[in-house]
């Protein structure tokens, strides 16, 4: 049976992404080698097409595919982040693929498939659909992590990601089975209803939730399931790292939020402490480990872990606030946008500065960058200051919203831990800035001129970060609205 036209609209972004993915794969062999640039343009067209499709999707709110997916303002918000980040990554990777002499077509195709999986995760209201989305995005990401075939590190990255990722997905699946065993359903709304009656299966349900959380915590790089992050982020091709740091994290947070607030919304006592402990651990581990890094990609990877911790603080705040959970969820959503902009921007610059074969990845390699490429240095400084949470950047308001949600929920200790670890963050973010600005430039190496795609990403992300500070109103209203649609 063919689904009704409304349902087609509701999965339009995924359809566009898949279609372009397949189109690129089919077209790739027929394009002569010297004209592979066309693949990049096709990829960009696909990414922008998907963004248009998100707009189309947003006009058709409602459940789709017999209740497997739903289009509400929450899923539209997440789609915006995921497809926005993917478009930026497409822009940034064109120059990278040229330089590294890598296959262009497959890269964009895989990127689209991964994004499509994340999109499904963002809309899914049913655990098996989540799992399907998770697998689609994971398998494509495993291959992407390995895309630099010649580099040993890339292999290591992909292998680790694959093995540990499969483990985590298995946990997730096991969790689905347990929840199904306890409640007899995999639909999130139905789980909530069933959990209210199934008091004799309480243990099984809690265990099931624990397993689901492990699966998601792996994807968002929350402690104690964060161990893979630095190795995978370091080894993967940098544009892929940019994607991994933004897209899957947003999608996994979408799933986590849906699970905890839709399925387990009445049982916040079950999961509150799990999230609390994980948040505290994640912030401490991420920030303190980042201090010791000398490799930029590893440093940013640990900073990703730290930010997952900040986001979990907001989740815990939303959980503790009971009926008033919207503020916490809105804080998560706002921060996810800010975070995606900062991370995609930062990794794009790292990819640009890495040079051929990604040889320049040490923080010391950036010495004197402010005199060589002042704009690049200024942009990177902006991203880092935003990650640190200084005013005039989106990161500041993001932190304010999280602090505020946590204070309203009276999570004083989490706030204190977050405040202290933020100061620790100052140390490693500022170190990069000091190397760029206070050190003399190295004589033996000059970074390549900035490619147009990279410049576009730099401009868009930097403008976004500043704009979100000065005019956060529309996005915050949207986020607050989306947060309400979760229940």
């Amino acid at each position: 049976m063919f689904p009704p036209i409304q349902d087609i609209y509701r999965i339009a972004p995924e359809l566009v992404a898949c279609l372009f993915g397949m189109l690129i794969m089919v077209a790739d062999p027929f394009v002569p080698r010297e004209r592979k640039g066309a693949m990049g343009r096709l990829g960009l067209a696909g990414a922008l097409g998907a963004l248009v499709a998100v707009e189309l999707m947003s006009r058709h709110a409602g459940a789709a595919m017999n209740g497997l997916l739903v289009v509400d303002s929450f899923s539209v918000f997440l789609h915006m982040i995921i497809y926005g980040a993917a478009s930026l990554v497409v822009l940034a990777s064109y120059d990278y693929l040229e330089r590294e002499n890598l296959q262009q077509g497959e890269f964009y195709a895989l990127l689209f498939f991964a994004t499509c999986g994340m999109g499904i995760m963002a809309s899914a209201t049913e655990l098996m659909t989540v799992f399907v989305g998770l697998e689609i995005s994971s398998i494509a990401s495993y291959i992407l992590a390995c895309y630099r075939r010649a580099a040993l590190k890339s292999h290591e990255s992909a292998m680790k990601y694959f093995l540990l990722g499969s483990f985590a997905t298995a946990f997730f699946l096991y969790g689905v089975a347990m929840v199904y065993g306890a409640t007899g359903t995999t639909s999130l709304v139905a789980i909530r209803a069933a959990a209210a009656h199934a008091t004799d299966h309480h243990m099984l349900l809690t265990l099931g939730f624990g397993m689901l959380f492990v699966g998601m915590a792996f994807k968002i790089a929350a402690a104690p399931f964060q161990v893979w992050t630095p190795d995978v982020y370091e080894g993967a091709p940098t544009p892929v790292t940019a994607l991994l740091a933004s897209g899957p994290k947003a999608a996994a947070f979408a799933v986590l939020l849906r699970i905890v607030f839709t399925a387990f919304g009445d049982a916040s006592s079950t999961w509150f402490w799990i999230v609390w402990i994980s948040a505290a651990l994640t912030m401490v581990v991420g920030n303190f480990a980042a201090v010791a890094q000398s490799n930029v990609k590893r440093m940013l990877a640990y900073s990703s872990i730290a930010h997952a911790g900040y986001l979990l603080v907001a989740v815990a705040a939303a959980g503790a606030a009971g009926e008033e959970s919207a503020a916490g969820i809105a804080a998560v959503l706002f921060y996810l946008v800010a975070y995606a902009l900062m991370k995609v921007g930062a990794f794009t610059i790292v990819s640009h500065l890495g040079g051929s074969g990604e040889q320049r990845l040490e923080i010391d390699d950036y010495a004197g960058l402010s005199t060589r490429q002042p704009t690049t240095a200024a942009c990177l400084a902006l991203y880092l200051l935003s990650l640190l949470g200084l005013p005039l950047t989106a990161g500041f308001l993001g932190k304010v919203y999280i602090f505020q949600a946590a204070l309203d929920a009276k999570l004083i200790w989490l706030v204190v831990i977050m405040a202290v670890t933020t100061v620790v963050g100052a140390f490693y973010y500022l170190r990069v800035i000091w190397v760029m600005y206070f050190r003399e430039a190295q004589q033996d190496w000059t970074p390549a001129p900035v490619a147009p795609g990279v410049a576009a990403v730099m401009f868009l992300t930097a403008a976004g970060i500043l704009a979100l500070f000065f005019f956060p109103g529309p996005l915050m209203t949207f986020a607050a609205h989306s947060a309400l649609s979760l229940r």
Partner: protein, 537 residues
């Protein structure tokens, strides 16, 4: 509240505009970069003098206010206003910035454009801090200031500049993050009396004063602690002062001038603007401890100054001592002492700024700050030595000069509250005379001890241009103090006034407030807090 013109916004953002103008200039066009920066700073100084014209002395509360909505939720407003407390600090900022630019005219040789850009951005941040009446806006300016200062120390500083820059930022951030948490907490608490809560300082102040918003005792202590820590680091109060000597010594002269002249004042300004009026009970309860720290700071700073072989470090530690004096005055809660503290903040900005300038001029000639490298400088450079002596005398509080007025007022007020405190304060004054005069003697008097110094040139016209205005101000503030004090008087009484809380909750405020008080979970606690807060000394 109506918007009363745009003067405050103009004064705040003109330097930023100037820095954008600098961006348009070519990087190697040093002459025009310097000229544009100086023109901007001077224009801003003239504009800030218009504040004096618009400011009605003797009127309590904020003037020339501007209130515009900025962020809808949480409700963050763009709210500026000036009162007697901030008026002179703003003018001090606009006065010192052109001087800082002039003193960097030749000594900054590389990355000239960035340097002046940072200096102007810093000026916007500093003025914004003094004028903001919205807590988040205040915090934004407070943090924004960090970045240019970090670069100023880190790029144009001396040998250990990176260490000093990082230390400066880490210390300040450690304090300010907790302050942010406290601001948000206060916002949450204000939600009980204003729908949705407010970050607006005057509104919160009114709510606290008429008893519609009551802080439970423990909460007030914690909030006070968070704010106090941020300000105490900035002041800096012993034992949080260790960033200061490093930052001062490593910073370029302009950085030291701004740091000592304005940035340290932000700590004491914050104490007067936020800690005392918002959290009077906690302030009074902890005042003895703060005073002990301040007294340790006064004596310790002075003693360490005395034995410093490095001139710049000596001046830096003297700041610890002088600012301890200001904090002592503030925490005596006596209007006269607070009046003196405000005055002393201005004095310290001018005198210590001038001392750093002179140290910088010596450094430009000899590339060292070590006192033993100098000696007998009065012979080759009589004019500079004369300036130096004049500034030293001002800093140690010679009658007729500015330092005396502030110190006298602080001692006068403090003496009436606690004789021991006043004793320690007086000790600081005596020790200041010791270390400053001794340092001056070793630098300027006697025979020329190092041959190189014989041929050092005396003040250049540019250096005279820098020092004369400062010396005029020193003298004017010494003999013409009513001009300044008449405008700060109301503000210092206002601080005391704002610290009052209604004695009985039922008598305070309107009837509508009473049920809210009963609903407050910690009602009993807050009642005791109020009694303690408003009890007679």
């Amino acid at each position: 509240m109506a918007n009363e013109g745009y003067l405050l916004s103009v004064v705040t953002f003109l330097p930023l505009l100037g820095s954008l103008g600098l961006l348009a200039l070519r990087g190697d066009d040093h002459t025009w970069i310097r000229r544009l920066a100086l023109a901007t700073a001077l224009a801003n100084f003239v504009l800030s003098l218009l504040l004096l014209h618009g400011f009605a002395a003797g009127t309590p509360g904020y003037q020339l206010e501007e209130l515009r909505p900025w962020i809808h939720w949480p409700p963050i407003n763009y709210h500026l206003g000036v009162d007697g407390l901030s008026l002179w600090l703003v003018i001090l900022t606009t006065f010192l910035t052109p001087i800082a630019i002039l003193c960097s005219w030749e000594s900054i040789g590389h990355r000239v454009k960035e340097f002046f850009l940072m200096l102007l951005v810093l000026e916007t941040g500093m003025i914004g801090v003094f004028l903001s009446l919205d807590l988040i806006l205040f915090f934004v300016f407070w943090e924004v200031m960090l970045v240019p200062m970090y670069f100023l120390i880190g790029i144009w500083g001396h040998e250990r500049r990176i260490y000093a820059a990082i230390k400066f930022v880490l210390y300040t951030m450690a304090g300010s993050v907790l302050m942010l948490v406290a601001i948000l907490w206060l916002f949450g608490l204000s939600g009980a009396s204003v729908p949705g809560g407010t970050f607006d300082l005057p509104t919160i102040q009114v709510l606290l004063q008429n008893g519609k918003l009551q802080l439970p005792h423990t909460t007030e202590l914690l909030l006070f602690g968070a704010f106090f820590l941020a300000f105490a680091i900035k002041v800096p109060l012993f034992p949080l002062h260790t960033w200061l000597p490093d930052a001062h010594v490593e910073a370029p002269t302009a950085g030291s001038v701004i740091l000592a002249g304005v940035l340290l004042k932000m700590g004491t300004y914050g104490l007067l603007r936020f800690c005392l009026p918002l959290f009077p009970a906690a302030s009074k309860e902890l005042a003895p401890w703060v005073a002990v720290l301040a007294m340790i700071g006064i004596v310790y700073g002075a003693l360490v100054s005395m034995v410093q072989p490095d001139l710049k470090k000596l001046i830096a530690y003297s700041s610890v001592s002088h600012l301890g004096f200001v904090v002592l005055g503030i925490f005596s809660f006596h209007p006269v002492a607070i009046q003196g503290a405000i005055y002393q903040m201005l004095n310290h900005g001018i005198s210590t700024g001038a001392l750093f300038l002179i140290a910088g001029m010596l450094y430009d000639r000899r590339h060292t700050h070590l006192i033993k490298e100098f000696g007998g400088l009065a012979t080759p450079m009589p004019a500079l030595s004369a300036f130096f002596l004049f500034v030293c005398l001002s800093s140690l509080g010679l009658p007729m000069l500015n330092g005396f007025v502030g110190e006298f007022l602080i001692l006068l007020g403090t003496y009436q509250v606690n004789k021991l405190w006043a004793t320690f304060g007086a000790l600081g004054v005596i020790l200041a005379a010791v270390y400053l005069l001794w340092a001056y003697q070793r630098v300027a008097f006697g025979e020329v001890t190092v041959e190189k110094n014989r041929v050092l040139p005396d003040c250049s016209p540019r250096e005279r241009l820098i020092l004369w205005p400062l010396c005029v101000m020193i003298l004017w503030m010494g003999i013409g103090s009513p001009v300044f004090l008449s405008r700060t008087e109301t503000a210092s009484q206002q601080v005391i006034e704002q610290m009052k809380r209604p004695q009985m909750p039922a008598l305070a405020g309107t009837r509508g407030a009473v049920p809210q008080l009963r609903d407050a979970p910690a009602g009993a606690e807050s009642a005791t807090a109020v009694q303690q807060g408003a009890g007679p000394k």
